[in-house]
Symmetry: C2
Subunit: 248 residues, 2 copies
Amino acid sequence: MTSGSETAQPTARRGAYRRLSVAERRAELITAAIALFAHNPPEDVSLDDVAAAAGASRPLVYRYFPGGKQELYEAALRDSADQLQECFVEPETGPLSERLSRTMDRYLAFVDGHAAGFSALLQGGSVAETSRTNAIVDEVRRTAAGHILRHLGATEPGRPLRTMVRTWITAAEAASLTWLDDGRQPPKEELRDWLVHHFVGSFIATAVNDPQTTELARSALVSEERDGPVGILLRQALPLVYEAEHLL
Amino acid sequence: MTSGSETAQPTARRGAYRRLSVAERRAELITAAIALFAHNPPEDVSLDDVAAAAGASRPLVYRYFPGGKQELYEAALRDSADQLQECFVEPETGPLSERLSRTMDRYLAFVDGHAAGFSALLQGGSVAETSRTNAIVDEVRRTAAGHILRHLGATEPGRPLRTMVRTWITAAEAASLTWLDDGRQPPKEELRDWLVHHFVGSFIATAVNDPQTTELARSALVSEERDGPVGILLRQALPLVYEAEHLL
């Protein structure tokens, strides 16, 4: 990144710095860091890499992030977490399964674009992992759960419903990691449909023993469309279930 | 632990040491460490605590574990992982849901008895977490997946089935952590039934798009009993599904 005229560049750069506000320069460094952390595990990213990618000097990076790489990593994570939480925003209209499908399209696009950072963070044991980074990840999970429960219309969710939603979120994370490990196979749309079907299966399994979930499942089913994910799932699952006559 | 006659005890202890083989003494230290790590986060357990609990001296603990607390923690984890993997051993006879229920009874008893260590390990960010401890956790997950796939009769499991099993294992871990956080509520049997139902829901949701899973689900259903977990689940879920006539 520093090849070319070594004497001319510093002046040009200082000129560039002056045109950026503190907030802009900081945002630029974070953007460069996110791009690097997205495609490389944290241990393989140096402050020099971030400086080079942002066309900045190492001292300048330290001026903005006195805590060095760890502080920059956390700032990048904070910013990524905000982006991810924006993926979860979905209007509360139409069949629930369609809302979930659209949200998962955005989520999987995010996973796709932040692969290395996403894996490092969720697989644990990363050198950059701290109680602060874990708190950010937990916040994202809580936000996701809050959105799902609101879409379901659960203002005071009981334990079974909360556990179901929390475990589904964990399942979605695990499936995304597997998807990245498997070279992004199957196609994103297939993984999305499976995650939506998985949610429905888990929702119905929870409904059988929990009256609150039963009520919510009942009203969720009313809004579903025949050719939507739930209609397709039910019409394909029933023949399999009917074969087990001795259980019905 | 060192109260009482300070002059007499060392002799008595040396006497006790002599009666133990190296392997026995090592096992005793690990057992003491497991008990401490089970009920306290790793950062709150000191080598002195382990020494005291085992009725041993700090130098003796160092003789067996020159790497100190981290080495002892890893040895305790290794031993716990072996115990946990024994929980997964289940004869391959009878309905699959009953086999899974029995296995989950043993698994939840293990979680119950190793609460603090289990949480610290799986929640991440523990001071004792390293690539080696993560490798042990991954090994346990792989063993669990191997058992499930063998019971299902999947000799060459395809991607959908592997992802389903892997995500269910993650869901079981997440539900167990929630259960510990919630003061071990609901009762263990209720959590076990939910996990089994959740498996069935997820299995059927996967079967609708994957021919291999469909075949395995079909033969699994044949072996189920009317009053077993699957029979109960299906008879309770169907009325809910039938209400959504427009989808069928």
